[in-house]
Subunit: 556 residues, 2 copies
Amino acid sequence: MSSERVIYLPLGGAGEIGMNAYVYGVGQPGQERLILVDLGVTFPDMDGSPGVDLILPDIQWLKERREQLEAIFITHAHEDHVGALAHFWGDLGAPVYARAFTANIARRKMEEHGHPERAVTTVSPWPETVQAGPFTVGFVPISHSIPESSGLVIDVAGQRLVHSGDFKIDHAPVVGEPFDEDAWKQIGAAGVLALMCDSTNVFNAHGGRSESALGPEIEKLVAGCKGMVVATTFASNVARVKTLAEAAQAAGRSVCLLGRAMRRMIEASVETGVLTGFPRTISPEEVKEIPRENVMLIVTGSQGERRAASAQLSNGKYQGITLKEGDTFLFSSKTIPGNERGVARIMNNFSEMGVDVVDESGGLYHVSGHANRPDLSTMHKLVNPKLVVPMHGEHRHLREHVKLSKSNGFKGILAPNGTMIDLGGETPTVAEYVETGRTYLDGSVQIGALDGIVRDRIRMALNGHVMVNVILDEDDEPLGEPWCEIRGLAETGVSRAPLVDVLEEDLSQYLGRAGSKTLMDDDKLEDGLRKIARNTAQGEIGKKPEVTVVISRLSA
Amino acid sequence: MSSERVIYLPLGGAGEIGMNAYVYGVGQPGQERLILVDLGVTFPDMDGSPGVDLILPDIQWLKERREQLEAIFITHAHEDHVGALAHFWGDLGAPVYARAFTANIARRKMEEHGHPERAVTTVSPWPETVQAGPFTVGFVPISHSIPESSGLVIDVAGQRLVHSGDFKIDHAPVVGEPFDEDAWKQIGAAGVLALMCDSTNVFNAHGGRSESALGPEIEKLVAGCKGMVVATTFASNVARVKTLAEAAQAAGRSVCLLGRAMRRMIEASVETGVLTGFPRTISPEEVKEIPRENVMLIVTGSQGERRAASAQLSNGKYQGITLKEGDTFLFSSKTIPGNERGVARIMNNFSEMGVDVVDESGGLYHVSGHANRPDLSTMHKLVNPKLVVPMHGEHRHLREHVKLSKSNGFKGILAPNGTMIDLGGETPTVAEYVETGRTYLDGSVQIGALDGIVRDRIRMALNGHVMVNVILDEDDEPLGEPWCEIRGLAETGVSRAPLVDVLEEDLSQYLGRAGSKTLMDDDKLEDGLRKIARNTAQGEIGKKPEVTVVISRLSA
């Protein structure tokens, strides 16, 4: 019993903002009983993961220990916390616990993947708890930018751990429970071994602002608009959608929701009772029947996503609706770093149509869902743990959060993905480093981020591609001339002759020179042809392309 | 003579921030004598232009009129104003005018491309002028973020045009001439037909701050640092480099410049006399000889560029220098939208090393080089033109700037790239729309942005690539089995057999089924094989790849 330990192991989320997956364990080393908190995704980009559909955490370590896994707890329904659940549930098979709204979203995902919806159990908030093996887990309502977010109180082996989940300190969050300082203080008063704490906004020095601060500003804006008003925000930010809809109502405008995610989120909110009193909405068909100054569209695509409603409206038309001069488009959202170009593209398209674009305007029309630096300090003090373990952040956020913890008088430990922390004893220690990483969902299959597949795509995109085709007869002599096809390369280079012709000429000369030893050896011949193709391209167009050589032997 | 007109035609820069190229003309329609103001580049990205080296404006219109071109004027030495000069000079051949520092940089570029350096003439600032055909052009010193920036006064056909160039209102710019309100007022007092005006910061509502505001803050920061200090900024921001170096000096630190662009810019500044009193610098070798707390590196790579000094230091080592725990890295720069991921990567690498990263900290360590909204209004009023023509901005910037002009009581006209404005008469009118666009420098050749070459690269990156190889004998019968090679695709799909095997099997069956009519027809056969390959891949891995089919006929 003395060798039992309590461990914490981030498999995702502690090294990026996104892709959250945190393991807790208790027991003899190597035989711990485990729970998993959150199982999210992050999103691919053209720079690092072209063609990839979703990025999932590499949870190989956990898959190999599925027998030790007691349960999966989902703190809230954001994709970076629940998005990978259905992709991996088949490999884990553990019961899933979440509050009603989150469970509703989780079940939709499970169903889409053919998993049993009953694997997801709806739980009531703290002080009720769930027993999962040696773990007693309570969902404590906490304010964030989606309904029913929860921090978790995890009691295990006589110790209390607090997992903040994503949170902000908001005493009037419009939808859902306000931040409850007393509850957190009480939870802390029982003695907390460690607080695992959101780090997203650690670099933001100002105190956070309440969701409810936006209503009057948005109302004022909408009241002053003449044509149609369109607003976009994250569909999951149900409070914001409500604020927008109420501003529309106040200005005598009917609300139309556009985009699948938007309708689904509002549907789930109403079904689960977290959203009440939402104004009646109208259909896209009805929009066309009433004067445009009496309409407000609330649409998906705040991050410039190419297929979402915002992008489609900016390209001309969506569900039969067209924007025009005098209309107003509001981004009630912040652009996530990396999405600037896509958002700017939409803004410029609207500008060309004569549509006035209004952005968040320095916080006038958007507030963050995460605790800023002073609010993180408040949380530290309320929970008063022996140890702060920063999570949900890039390395620089985690590091800064450790510094902040120390300046608040708390022990802090830097635990990026794969760092297994032994939380017991007087000093927390690194028990082990576990291999972690990223798994790509690519079409319908999962591939490893380091498999070389995506690297090859990037190389083709950067360097272009030459295919070289050679046929050798029964005597290993070239049959006809080598044949080239190029893709993604300039058609003519410095010699002004077609690149393909120059390549074929040089390859042909090489074949003519090649001895029978080379011609008989596939590897040697391939190397030789590749080198010629790359050098010729370099000379002609100044690029060394990727080369695929296909050698066909009639002798075979 | 009555049918003479004065025209303005942006070929680049009025539709993006970057790639500036503005044509002015006077004469009978179609026979105007022309001048070109600036000839810049913009930078490629993985999203839209993978593998491309530089993006140049498409100046086909001007190339076809090279006989009408009197001269090229370069307002300042930023790449988006001078970067395309040497790439296109061979097609234009006109004399180039610039002030000393800009001319120094321009000549270096001309030399690198084998063009005569004497094509670039150094001019003295206003009130001196250059005569170029019917144009009289003066370079009026104006504050910006590079030495010797100029606005142009263009007197032609009894009219005065003012081309602001990039500018800010800075009365103490550290290096170079302060903004001279009186000079601009006088220029305006003579009567100005049109002001072509920088639009970059039109959305920034606050008055701009002076470069000289940073010195004390940076000095304070550096004085408080313990280990080595490294600072990055645009190399061309010579005033900033000077401020950084002086902060180092004040803290008893020796300065070492790292990165080719950094050394070249300082060299050009000293050569042309715009920079004096710069502290003595030390070499990378000397850095290793003295205590790290006595060193400050000033390095390239503020935008996260992979090959620049910042990125290399963050990856471990540059010129033998390694950073370590306790060192400080300052971004005295703003991240240009689209570069966030690259910059964050560097910040996180430094975080992993234990290096403290300090960003611009909300303007504490960086100021913009462009005029904010109130400063644009000041410029409008000083120059007091009949017409404001916004330039240097995306569509949304230009449109907003037209609005601002109107609210200031000036006529404004929206003229994106390709819009030829007839400036004469009582009302400016659109004379013509000219085709404009982008030319890519790709390796050593120029390709059109719409040639399909880069589109093919993007498709390979998104979809992966399958090569199908079929050999037909003299009787148009398949010789052996079809052969596949894949690149950038998962190796196994849902059937758990290698994707290549499944593809080859399905292609083989198709060939077996194909009638002689198909087998004899290259196009038909290719279409059929492509369709099979795409469908099979879709079934196996959920992706429809790019397919290249090579059919070899022994009959040929």
